[in-house]
Amino acid sequence: MRVSKGALLVGIVLLVPFVIELRTALSWFGIEITVVESALVGLALAVAITAWALWPPNEDGEAADRS
């Protein structure tokens, strides 16, 4: 773990506003995406962050996990 479980969870939660605003933001550049597409982008990002946090498995990772 690169970050604590709590931090990972918070990181994923913090993605939500960005994903929601993505549609509006992209539309300024003339790119139209649907709700489902933005949900998929969100999901992909969440998976990416989780993968980043878990990989590479870090032996003393639990040390960072204090709360």
Binding site: S4, G6, T24, S27, S67
Partner: protein, 583 residues
Amino acid sequence: MRNAYVDQFPAEARVVKSAFWSSFLALAIGGIFGLVQALHRTDVLRFIDSTDYYTVLTAHGVLLAITFTIFFLVGIFTWAVTTSLDRGVVDIRFTWSWYVMMVTGTVLVAVAIFSGFLEEPPSILGSELYADVLFTFYSPLQAHPIFYIGLVLFVVGTWLAGFDWFRTWWAWRDENADERIPLPTFMVLTTTLFWYICTLGVALSILAFLLPWSLGIVDSVNPLLTRTLFWYFGHAVVYFWLMPTYVMWYIMLPKLSGGKLFSDPLARVVFVLFLLLSTPLGIHHQYLDPGIAEGYKFIAMTNTMFLLLPSLLTAFTVVASMEHGARQRGGEGYLGWLTALPWRDPVFTGMALAGLMFAAAGFSGMINAGMNINYLVHNTWWVVGHFHLTVGTAVALTFMAAAYWFIPQVTGKELWSRSVALGQVLLWFVGMTFMSNAMHRSGLFGMPRRTAEPQYQNFDFEPAVGTVAEMDAQVALGAVLLVVSLVLFLLNMVLTSFNGTSDSIPDNTYAGTLSGPEDAPEILDNLKLWTAIAVVLVIFAYTLPLASIVESGGLFGPGIDGRQLSLGADLEPALETLREVVA
């Protein structure tokens, strides 16, 4: 030896606990009503009549914006004063008496509002109970006298509470003549002072105008005057909700992050600025009102912008304190320290997320404050989106997170589940992101607030991106998540109170400071001076507008009767037919 608040001040802890529970009750009812509103407006699920919508909305506004917030506030403030002065209140019976007075006021107000659900509300004092006037109670909409009486009792209760805090401080000062006012007490006292200043407006509005008028003693009001007096109070009240939140951010967050408050002097400056500037800008809620010259609106706008300063300073201090804490915990790097914060702690995480949402709210707030851009968004759902970030999250989420720390402190019982608590604060954040974002965007294309069925016969809304249906769905989804979060919160509170007492409650402490009061000039503690300046600013900002409103509309207005605009049940079909004919 356990040294929680309940061990230090058992008597005060009972009052604080009662205040918290009163506030949770209001939150529970108000929150569920919020869901009813969200589902009804968006036409996802309608199980009340649209005419009852406004009863629900009045209850939601009053219970959440007034009852929930202020009951929690008096709890926190009583805790802050006694803890930081390290002494109990002067007379606990007095403390109970203001609490009981606030409860009585709330019950009267609630009776008046909830009678709106009855087919035939009972008559009291010669008129039918009625209070479908929303929490702003603009005349000539007229509520039943007990609605106004209840509000007065509630406010007088808070006045007495303020007196209680002052009295406790005076008693402490007699024994500690040369000491600086401890920071938490300083924050409480400055807040109380501007509360006194601003509530004079609403007290005057009710006692001199609305109550006599609802009792039939005078037969007219000046709607613009009572409205202006409401907003004289109405802006400062938002800072009244916010100040206990700031207290938490200043004196709890740094500690929870593992460090100290960056600067005590700056914290004092911030609270002094709030004392000075909270009231003389209420007219910024009236940018669109006729009868108020542009110049006065301009002054309110300028003051509003300057009131950004203490919030910007707070952002700095809070983030700097968190960074300090994170580095104490071994955090490194430019941003890397963020991962070292105690994200598993629901108290910390809840408050941090609340602060983040407050920053977002700052942006939409600047739009609102912009005298001209305001015309685009005034009274649209944009505004509702905005204040669900401020009072509905910055304040409410901070309070809920704080409760996870406070309830163990005042009961001596351990929290039922910290994991559920963490999930709860995260869920609130997500739910509010969905709801508030869609509300903001709906406001931009003109979706009105305070409207049971914002679906019109003769025109459609034209969103820039997406469809109205998508935004409605987003609001409904957000509202559902919020209520799930709310239920988890209440569940945690209830189950905690069934826990047995525990010995592992942390000590009752708050954050120390890196730069202490010795760095703050003595003059900052001169409350009389700041109060005098605050009063002068209010006089400057309000004398002329009020004088011109009275001059043009008369003190009691030109024969304006009270209105309770509803149709009897038998008239409703007639209206429907009429509408069909017209449409």
